[in-house]
């Protein structure tokens, strides 16, 4: 090796630091371009996908227009297609999931980031919760069918017999394959996302804030609810949105437990249907171009829904941040 003879402190006075030629410079430039093109390719692929989906959906968009979103019929024979029951099912099941996953996820994040448990207890808890994310959704679906539903059915029948007068629980002899079960299964699936990100957010909050609050005489709960959670709020909203995105798009596990009935019912104990579930069930056996079109139109709607949720989250964080100042 020739380099070893060079002294580290010998400075080459002839070095030209503003040089735009030579191997290093072109490598530098090349790398910049490679990185840029990767970024652009990602965006390009996204637009390309939208374009392809739009083209496939065109026969349905052309025939039904925006009325598709508000129609409730779905009949391959007629043909009549409407998206409302699927949109309803997707939004409600995800909402149930978020309602359950946010408090539970935050609780896990607090327990594993605060210091009221010894480290050898809380690290395994954090690790195990994150492990849920690695379970394939089909397995969670099967577990839902064979383990969760038999446990939930007596509870849901109890809900009917005592609270049946509330439209929310007015379903006699529920089979267990319903909106509530789907929401609970989804909540379990998105829990690791919610818990892990919130935990990371809480861990990076500066020590001084916590010490300051404690020094001013606030209790642990006051510190958590008045200082820690507000400080990490935008990160926690981000975690909830990421989790919601996963819930909206989840396919297999939901298909297996939701009952797949495209009917809008106020009762959470009735079967329902979601957009990803109908895509999974009907795409392979689609009868004709219009049927495929209606299904891809649903896919476009799901895409827009997810986009709206994300925009809503960004706006929410900004508005709340402004109010704080």
């Amino acid at each position: 090796m020739t380099n070893s003879s060079l002294q580290p402190d010998s400075i080459d006075e002839n070095i030209n630091i503003t040089s735009t030629g030579g191997l290093n410079h072109s490598l530098d430039q090349g790398f910049t371009w490679v990185v840029r093109s990767f970024a652009f390719i990602t965006v390009f692929i996204l637009f390309w996908m939208i374009w392809v989906v739009y083209q496939e959906a065109y026969p349905a968009i052309n025939k039904f227009g925006l009325g598709f979103i508000f129609s409730q019929d779905w009949d391959t024979g007629a043909p009549a297609y409407g998206a409302l029951p699927y949109i309803y099912g997707t939004l409600i099941s995800s909402a149930i999931a978020i309602l359950i996953a946010v408090p539970v996820g935050l609780a896990i994040a607090l327990v594993t980031s605060e210091d009221f448990l010894p480290k050898w207890v809380k690290s395994p808890i954090a690790f195990l919760v994150e492990l849920i994310a690695a379970i394939p959704s089909v397995i969670i679906g099967l577990w839902g069918i064979f383990v969760l539903i038999p446990i939930l059915v007596p509870f849901q029948q109890w809900l009917y017999s005592f609270f049946g007068w509330i439209p929310l629980f007015n379903t006699e002899d529920t089979s267990g394959n319903n909106m509530l079960t789907a929401g609970i299964v989804l909540a379990i699936m998105i829990l690791p996302t919610m818990a892990a990100i919130s935990r990371d957010v809480l861990l990076v909050i500066p020590k001084q804030l916590r010490s300051g609050a404690m020094a001013l005489g606030s209790t642990r709960w006051e510190t958590i609810f008045r200082v820690l959670l507000p400080t990490g709020f935008s990160g926690i909203v981000g975690a909830a949105m990421l989790a919601l995105g996963r819930a909206l798009g989840e396919t297999m596990a939901v298909t297996m437990v939701i009952g797949n009935d495209a009917f809008i019912s106020p009762s959470l104990l009735d079967a329902a249907y979601t957009i990803p579930a109908v895509l999974a069930n009907e795409f392979a056996e689609a009868e004709n171009r219009l049927h495929v079109g209606a299904l891809t139109y649903l896919a476009l709607i799901l895409f827009v829904l997810t986009l709206l949720v994300n925009i809503g989250a960004v706006v929410l964080v900004q508005v709340l941040d402004k109010n704080k100042k």
């Binding site: 391959t76 069918i145 539903i149 298909t255 797949n260 079967a271 069930n281 056996e285 009868e287």
Partner: protein, 345 residues
């Protein structure tokens, strides 16, 4: 190292030669083995996969690959010509057949019964008459202690429970066979639902499962549920099947022999397309499944392979039908198919 053009050329040439020497024999071997690609109905998929394994005992070079993508998918792929043979439980319509320039022969390969499966703890021999069954699936009878179900089952204690119908979420040949039977025996059902692979069920509080497995699962776990699956699935999953009435008003439980009795009386037309719908003997909810082969193939070798395959399925292959709970095709029909297969080029 200098990387000159000559070095590059030499490297490329020598690797191409080496690759040709190494892989050449493999390619010719592949060319010698005749491989057939099929796709379609999932109902006979276990049977076709068994055929594909067993056929190699007689024709070791014949490789058949069948993909269960669904009846509609089988018809679509046959029309497009992306497969060597298709599979479907709903057969191709004349319009579909005419749109294929190479011509299509429908080869009936097996038949099967569709069981009406139910889940009612304590009720082991449920009977459903020709009036009751269609009305349940048309949404007119909604409770198990309905007087009409009671009349079919004298002496049986039926619970005061809601009926939860379970149907298919995907388009399916099984649904076609089932709705075809119900439409044949009930005018009300024909008007409300009709015969279709994926009808619009006028049912409230229905559950939908994907595939036979999905329906079987939902029925097995839903107390008060009733659905329909292939007989083989009901047997495999040990779900209780209801006895239904045939045209001579006998209550018959689904079984292989009862389905065979029903199919034996079926008359096959020249194009082999027949939807049974009803039967005076045996179990009335039965259907057939077909392989769709072309009349002309792109190469004589391919045509020869297809002939070998179908001829085997129509002779030795039929012996395997029973072990998987499928019915056999009557011998006279098989003879006719073998005669038709001689015309395939």
């Amino acid at each position: 190292m200098k990387f000159s053009a000559t070095v590059f050329n030499r490297v490329v040439t020598s690797s191409v030669v080496a690759a040709a020497v190494v892989f050449g024999p493999i390619f010719t071997a592949v060319a010698q083995a005749e491989s057939l690609k099929g796709a379609g109905a999932s109902f006979p998929a276990p049977l076709y996969q068994k055929y594909a394994r067993e056929v190699r005992k007689k024709h070791p070079g014949l490789k058949v690959n069948y993909q269960a993508c669904g009846s509609s998918c089988g018809i679509r792929q046959t029309k497009k010509g992306t497969v060597d043979f298709g599979g479907s439980d709903a057969a191709m319509s004349d319009r579909d057949i005419n749109s294929v320039k190479r011509g299509v022969i429908l080869v009936p390969t097996a038949g099967g019964a569709v069981s009406v499966v139910y889940n009612l703890p304590g009720v082991n021999k449920l009977k459903l008459s020709r009036t009751t069954l269609p009305l349940i699936f048309a949404g007119r009878i909604t409770r198990w202690n309905d007087s009409r179900i009671k009349k079919d089952n004298p002496g049986v204690k039926l619970p005061n429970r809601r009926i939860t119908p379970v149907v298919r979420a995907d388009g399916s040949g099984t649904t076609f066979i089932f709705t075809n039977h119900l439409s044949t025996i009930s005018r009300y059902f024909k008007g409300r639902v009709g015969t279709s692979k994926k009808p619009r069920w006028p049912l409230r509080r229905v559950l939908k499962g994907k595939g036979n497995a999905g329906v079987a699962n939902l029925v097995r776990r839903t107390s008060g549920g009733i659905g329909y699956v292939n007989h083989s699935f009901a047997v495999k999953n040990k779900i209780k099947s209801a006895m239904v009435q045939n045209r001579s008003k006998q209550f018959v439980a689904p079984s292989l022999s009862a389905a065979n009795r029903a199919l034996a009386s079926v008359k096959f037309p020249a194009n082999y397309r027949v939807f049974v719908g009803d039967s005076t003997r045996g179990y009335p909810i039965v259907g057939l499944t077909w392989m769709m082969v072309y009349k002309r193939y792109s190469s004589p070798a391919k045509a020869k392979a297809v002939k070998k395959w179908i001829n085997w399925v129509m002779t030795d292959g039929q012996k395997h039908n029973g072990s998987l709970q499928y019915t056999k095709i009557p011998a006279s029909v098989r003879k006719r198919v073998l005669r038709d297969m001689k015309k395939v080029k």
